[in-house]
């Protein structure tokens, strides 16, 4: 098991995100201040429209803050070019999305390989993709395309892809939204194991109690504001 040093990976200070459409302004986040530390298994919870996905998008360098300061892995995201943000995502972050998670024309192995190839991994990427799929109990799905797998299997492959390059921070946007109870539990156990064995940090947006039950820390967002930040009592894996 890997020991976590509590290093701050994400620092958000008074972060605000406003969407503008002509004269209309819609505040998605209002002055969010938050740290994410190494080893966190953090759930961002809140009702729909509370700003969970927006916060994940900002942390994932997919979007820019309107005001405030956001530092991810020591880099001020607002000051990064499009290319540097893509580099940050590619080299240091892993993503698991709610749906449309895998490239449908690639097999499970090829989906994992794709990210490794983007990262410049050479000929050993096929072996590494097989290794991670095997480690996550997905060996039998390696040569299947997404449409030949269940939703739970697809999400597990998506996790395999997100962690294949051992990123320091994995961001998951409602990863269990389309899964039944058994699949949701299996997915969370898998991510917990990765966090424990490889020292990865996970941040989820969710309103799924099955996810919240696994979290070591639960941050609550309401109308774009942090209204709670509590230590969790993770259920046994």
């Amino acid at each position: 098991m890997t020991q976590h040093n509590g290093e701050i990976l994400v620092s958000a200070v008074d972060v605000t995100k406003v969407y503008r459409a002509g004269e209309i302004e819609a505040y998605a986040l209002r002055g969010v201040t938050l740290d994410v530390r190494s080893g966190d298994f953090l759930s961002i919870v809140g009702p729909s429209g509370s700003g969970k996905t927006t916060l994940l998008n900002l942390v994932g360098a997919l979007d820019s803050v309107s005001s405030g300061k956001l530092t991810v892995l020591g880099q001020d995201v607002a000051g990064l070019s499009r290319r540097r943000r893509a580099d940050l995502r590619l080299k240091s972050l892993g993503f698991v999305f709610q749906a449309y998670n895998l490239v449908p024309v690639l097999t499970a192995r090829e989906n994992v390989e794709f990210v490794l190839e983007l990262q410049g991994v050479g000929s050993e990427r096929t072996a590494r993709a097989r290794e991670i799929l095997e480690e996550l109990g997905l060996r039998e799905f390696a040569d299947r395309r997404p449409l030949e797998m269940s939703g739970g299997q697809q999400q597990r492959v998506a996790v395999a892809r997100a962690v294949a390059s051992r990123p320091r921070l994995v961001l998951a946007d409602e990863p269990t939204a389309n899964l039944d109870g058994d699949n949701a539990g299996a997915l969370m156990n898998m991510m917990r194991r990765l966090r424990d064995e490889h020292g990865m940090t996970f941040v989820f947006s969710t309103h799924d109690p099955r996810v919240i039950a696994h979290a070591t820390r639960v941050v609550t967002l309401t109308d774009g504001r942090v209204t709670g930040d509590e230590k969790g009592e993770p259920a046994a894996a």
């Binding site: 998008n57 994932g60 997919l62 979007d63 290319r83 893509a86 580099d87 995502r89 590619l90 080299k91 993503f95 999305f97 449309y100 998670n101 490239v103 449908p104 024309v105 690639l106 090829e110 390989e113 794709f114 990210v115 190839e117 983007l118 990262q119 892809r161």
Partner: protein, 409 residues
């Protein structure tokens, strides 16, 4: 471009097979049409040029300047024998004929009809490429040949006698009695309709043109040598008093017709481009709009926009190339079959089409299409290039995508 990008591009074509199939069909049909048209025009053009440069025109013609406009009897080439010998010494010359042309009246009985007397070298012109190629009954020593239509009109048959009345180069009327040695059917319509063929020596004697002729017809060993041959002859001091022209300068109308055939292939090529652009652009646009969220996911994972752009171009190129290859296989098969069976265009035009002629030459009506490698390559290259071009718009849309906005779609 990375292998995985090419693999994704290729597999993406199978995501909506019906749409891809329709695009492939439009491209393939265009390529088939292009090859069919090119095959048809290749043979038709070659046959027309053969007809033009064959028995009547040759590859190069030599006349006294202005003769072609005035057709005066006394505008004849002097020193004929020595000049013919000089021409035949050129290594590019296959054959060279001298001819006399003279309007005359032919009277088999009481009535007289207008004919065009053509004086030819019987030995040379009954050989391959001559005006009366393969004709057994040679003219000469008071014996003449008549064209089929002219003979029918005059009610002549082999063995009949006919009186020919004309005017010599010296302006003195001349008349002679000849025996019809034979009736000929020529690929030169002028011969069939109005032709009276007599030997060059008979014509020189009748029209007072000793060692003279109105025209020298030169055939090159290969068509490619014709222009250089014409230039060489024109540069020779021995012929500086003559007008020396390649065939396409003599019958400019025919040359324009041949050129128009090339343009007709170009016209079809443009239609093929339009079909390819419409098919591929539509497919790629729809496919791009459907996959915006997927592109957003790829960008979120750290993929560069150029990679997605490259994938779209690769898809378009694969679509165009595949359609062109399918079209080429089917088009070549079609041309292959018709090159064996031939296409009888007279059957399309009915009886009237069988006598189709232009400027005195009978145009070919049985065509055996064939293709040049360049026809296939131009089609494949043009369709593929056009397909890539038509992907510019969808690629531009993909290049501007912001991952977070794309993921929201």
């Amino acid at each position: 471009m990375r292998l995985s990008t090419l693999r994704m591009a290729w597999r993406n074509l199978g995501r909506n097979r019906r749409r891809t199939g329709l695009a492939l069909t439009s491209i393939a049909v265009g390529q088939i049409a292009l090859l069919a048209m090119a095959g048809l025009m290749n043979d038709y053009t070659e046959k027309i040029v053969d007809v033009i440069t064959g028995p009547l025109m040759g590859d190069v013609q030599m006349h006294v300047p202005e003769w072609r406009d005035e057709r005066a009897m006394d505008m004849a080439i002097p020193d004929l024998a020595s000049r013919l010998a000089e021409i035949q010494r050129d290594p590019a010359v296959k054959t060279a004929f001298a001819r006399i042309y003279a309007p005359a009246l032919a009277a088999p009985a009481e009535k007289a009809y207008v004919v065009v007397v053509t004086g030819v070298d019987p030995d040379a012109e009954t050989r391959e490429g001559g005006l009366i190629e393969g004709v057994a009954a040679k003219p000469g020593e008071g014996r003449v040949l008549f064209g089929r239509n002219a003979a029918d009109r005059l009610g002549l048959k082999a063995g009949d006698e006919v009186v020919v009345v004309g005017q010599g180069a010296d302006g003195i009327p001349a008349d002679r009695r000849y025996v019809v040695a034979g009736i000929v059917t020529s690929s030169v319509d002028l011969v069939n309709r109005q032709g009276l063929i007599m030997s060059l020596s008979d014509a020189q004697a009748m029209f007072s043109l000793a060692d003279q002729a109105h025209e020298l017809v030169v055939r090159a060993k290969t068509r490619e040598e014709a222009d250089a041959l014409a230039a060489r002859l024109a540069a020779s001091p021995r012929f500086k008093d003559l007008e020396i022209l390649p065939w396409y300068e003599v019958v400019k109308g025919m040359k324009r017709m041949v050129d128009m055939m090339d343009y007709s292939v170009l016209f079809v090529l443009i239609f093929v481009f339009v079909a390819a652009v419409a098919g591929v652009a539509n497919t790629m646009l729809m496919s791009t709009f459907e996959r915006v969220r997927e592109f957003g996911m790829l960008l979120a994972l750290g993929s560069r926009p150029w990679r997605i752009v490259g994938m779209i171009f690769a898809e378009a190129a694969a679509l165009g190339l595949l359609g062109a290859v399918v079209g080429t296989i089917l088009g070549c098969a079609l041309v292959g079959v018709t090159s064996w069976t031939g296409i009888d265009m007279a059957a399309w035009g009915g009886e009237a089409a069988k006598d189709f002629s232009f400027q005195g030459m009978r145009l070919p009506l049985l065509v055996y299409p064939w293709l040049k490698l360049s026809d296939v390559l131009v089609g494949v290259g043009a369709v593929t290039a056009t397909s890539i071009l038509s992907a510019v718009w969808p690629a531009a849309i993909a290049a501007r995508l912001e991952p977070v906005e794309a993921l929201r779609k």
